[in-house]
């Protein structure tokens, strides 16, 4: 462990994550093996030091920001350590250390360029069944320098989670180092809870018996608000999306997906927001009008751009050469929906898009007001158009920051059930107007998960925006929604989670934590507030 007086100066970057919050710590270590994690943990527990686990620090909920104690940074555990191919089912898996970055995994898969020196025979043999650029890891957060461990701890997702689900759906096994240095090795399907009760056996042979909380999770497509909980759940799911509060993940086996032959995108411009939301419903297979044929589109992503978002992009396009290459946004374009589709052949995709065109017209849109990308080059153009949204927001925040350095990005990460989509949009629009704020809305509308970004022009507006978010958390919880859909609760959104779950329900979460982390040293203050227990 490295520890000295100028710690804050030497390791200042490790006191922050992408939420731009800054914390403090006394020491840091960069373990290279599971054994080193265990020994670091034991030392901390002995000294009763809090421990913050870090992946790539791209988190947006200040979850990896330490508030005292020791940092265990996993960036040096960054290897892919094996592969597995199940011939009968045709499933492919990779075994990775937690610190390996998504970009690296993608690169290895595209070029089939794994470093196999330390792999066992079986893993190397499995690679014989892999062709270059035919497999991918489907979880696609916009931030591709996230670590697989961090993504697992946050249950990260991305645009394509509409089709492929979140990280949870692709984690096959985990090794978790508990605060006392003992290890849980969990494989999907092998450690099921029964009627809210579970029993887990650690590698040292200790049995951890427990009762699951009583609260019910919201019925939403995307959720990372507090611990995963179902009476008959697979216990591996408890450790996915737990924001690093239950243990340190030291190894992950992820399942890969097979690339499909054809991949298209289409951006549709609708004449108003309501029609755009109807199109979203059509695209995800809802019956919006009576004589509607079932749409065989099977989208992998459905994304949204509010009118203000398009206006923002339009201004940037004219004034900033960095955005000059995005397609021309015509004045008649009001609100946009982006749909991405993968299938076996171009013909199959075209059939779906052809039907979509008919639906657009029926909804009062214009099928000529669309951009179709049917090859990688043009698809890239539509992707950059999508990515331009957060980039433009960040630029505007940087401008606002000049008026007051305390101003940071104000983006929401909440999701609601399918039937509340229009209601939540109405709420956002009305509240933004009522509070005289400027905001752009974009994001994963297929999953009813939109990022509302208020763009404060000064500190006063920033404060008003922040207060508004807390009221939204309350209203969304009342709609049966989730206050965090993909970034995790972390330390920043603890007050939000308190709007979603009662004191008793949060206590249930805390009890669960204490079962695995007696003295509550791991990521203290994340998910729910730290409360001293009697047993300390």
């Amino acid at each position: 462990m490295e520890n000295n007086n100028t710690f804050a100066e030497m390791y200042s970057e490790y006191l922050r994550d992408e939420s731009r919050q800054t914390g403090m710590a006394e020491s840091i270590s960069f373990p290279k093996t599971e054994e080193e994690i265990i020994s670091d943990l034991k030392k901390c527990v002995y000294k009763n030091m809090e421990i913050t686990t870090q992946g790539a620090r791209t988190g947006l909920a200040a979850s990896a920001v330490p508030f005292g104690g020791h940092i265990i940074n996993l960036s040096k555990m960054n290897k892919v350590t094996g592969a597995r191919y199940e011939k009968e089912s045709g499933r492919f898996f990779l075994k990775v250390q937690p610190g390996v970055l998504l970009t690296e995994v993608r690169k290895y898969l595209t070029n089939k360029s794994f470093v196999t020196l330390d792999w066992d025979e079986q893993s190397r043999e499995a690679l014989n069944y892999m062709e270059k650029n035919q497999w991918f890891y489907s979880t696609d957060p916009t931030e591709i320098s996230a670590s697989i461990g961090g993504m697992t701890a946050c249950n990260a997702s991305g645009a394509k989670s509409f089709r492929y689900g979140s990280t949870r759906d692709h984690v096959e096994s985990l090794r978790v180092v508990l605060a006392d240095g003992d290890i849980l090795s969990l494989r999907r399907g092998q450690c099921m809870a029964r009627d809210g009760h579970f029993e887990l056996v650690t590698e040292s042979g200790r049995t951890i018996k427990g009762e699951l909380p009583k609260y019910k999770m919201p019925h939403v497509r995307k959720n990372t608000s507090g611990y995963y909980n179902k009476p008959h759940m697979d216990m591996i799911d408890l450790f996915i999306g737990a924001d690093g509060t239950l243990g340190i993940i030291s190894e992950i086996e992820i399942e890969l997906s097979k690339k499909q032959a054809a991949n298209w995108g289409v951006t549709v411009f609708m004449p108003d927001e309501d029609k755009a939301l109807d199109l979203v419903r059509v695209a995800r297979g809802e019956k919006v009008f009576e004589d509607m044929e079932a749409l065989s589109l099977k989208p992998s992503a459905i994304e949204f751009f509010s009118h203000n978002a398009l206006e923002m992009l339009k201004v940037q396009q004219k004034t900033n050469s960095a955005f000059a290459s995005i397609q021309e946004i015509k004045d008649v374009y009001h609100t946009a929906v982006y749909i991405e589709i993968e299938n076996d052949s171009d013909d199959e995709i075209w059939k779906g898009i052809d039907c979509l065109g008919t639906c657009i017209e029926k909804l009062g849109g214009d099928e000529d007001a669309t951009w179709v990308a049917n090859n990688p080059t043009s698809l890239e153009k539509l992707h950059s158009f999508r990515h331009a949204c957060p980039e433009c927001v960040n630029m505007q925040i940087d401008i606002a920051k000049k008026t007051d350095s305390r101003i940071t990005k104000l983006g929401t990460d909440m999701s609601v059930p399918d039937d509340k989509l229009k209601e939540v949009m109405k709420m956002y629009n009305e509240d933004i107007k009522k509070n005289n704020l400027h905001a752009v809305i974009f994001g994963h509308v297929g999953n009813n998960h939109l990022h509302v970004n208020t763009i404060p022009r000064n500190m006063e507006e920033y404060k008003r925006g922040k207060e508004l978010y807390l009221t939204w958390a309350e209203k969304i919880a009342a709609m049966g929604g989730a206050v965090s859909a993909e970034h995790g609760v972390g330390k920043l959104k603890v007050p939000f989670l308190q709007k979603m779950y009662s004191k008793e329900e949060l206590d249930e979460m805390r009890s669960l934590k204490k079962l695995f982390d007696h003295t509550q040293l791991l990521n203290r203050g994340a998910v729910f507030p730290f409360e001293k227990g009697e047993d300390i």
């Binding site: 075209w350 052809d354 657009i360 214009d366 951009w371 049917n374």
Partner: protein, 260 residues
Amino acid sequence: MKIIVCIKQVPGTNEVKMDPTTNTIIRENVASIINPFDTYAIEEAVRIKERYGAEIYGLSMGIPAASEMLREAISLKIDKAMLLTDRKFAGADTLATSYALSRGVEKIGAYDLIICGKQATDGDTAQVGPSLAKTLGIAYATDISKIIELNYGFMRCMKITDDGYEEIEIKLPALITVVKEINMPRLPSIKSMRNAKSAEIEIVTSKDAAADENRTGLKGSPTQVRKTFVPVHDVNSIYISGSTEEQSKKLAEILLGKES
């Protein structure tokens, strides 16, 4: 107003395979695309159509599969397309290509403007545009970056030169070749793709075009590519070692050519 856009099909990758005996590109089984520069030519024609009204013809010489590429050009909002395809056209150099294209142009009939890309990404000669204009006996201007004004008799436009821009006026009918700066090509829409699916591509053989066989294909090509190769860049590094003094002495000797 009638506009003809010349569109060439080129391989979609940099990994071009050459036929070692004929030294021509193997075009079968390679994913091909519209020559990127020609997408700017198409877009400019469509912008003229939207501004002044026009009928746009796409014209290509290539293998039969190039008709799918022309269909894609229709989805980018040109109106009609003609493919010159015949074994007799195969193996053409720029001279034979321009002659064949000129036959296509004659078959299309009266026109006001021909737009070509600046160059093709495979052959890369940038000769076909000017050569086609010569064959047709019309005025031409290359490297056009902006069309300022267009009327039935004349066109005013900007041309990129080594030193900057030139504003020129050219008498119609004329041929121009365009550079990337000229516009931002649009993506197709669902509607335009649907139109393209059912569009008819006019297939024209050497005979249909009343082409002189001695002027087309390998036969009509005075240029024969004899060998293609990747140039070798020889960079020789010399490492100098020793004390600072020794090193500077050695360096001086090398610079003075006293040591190799």
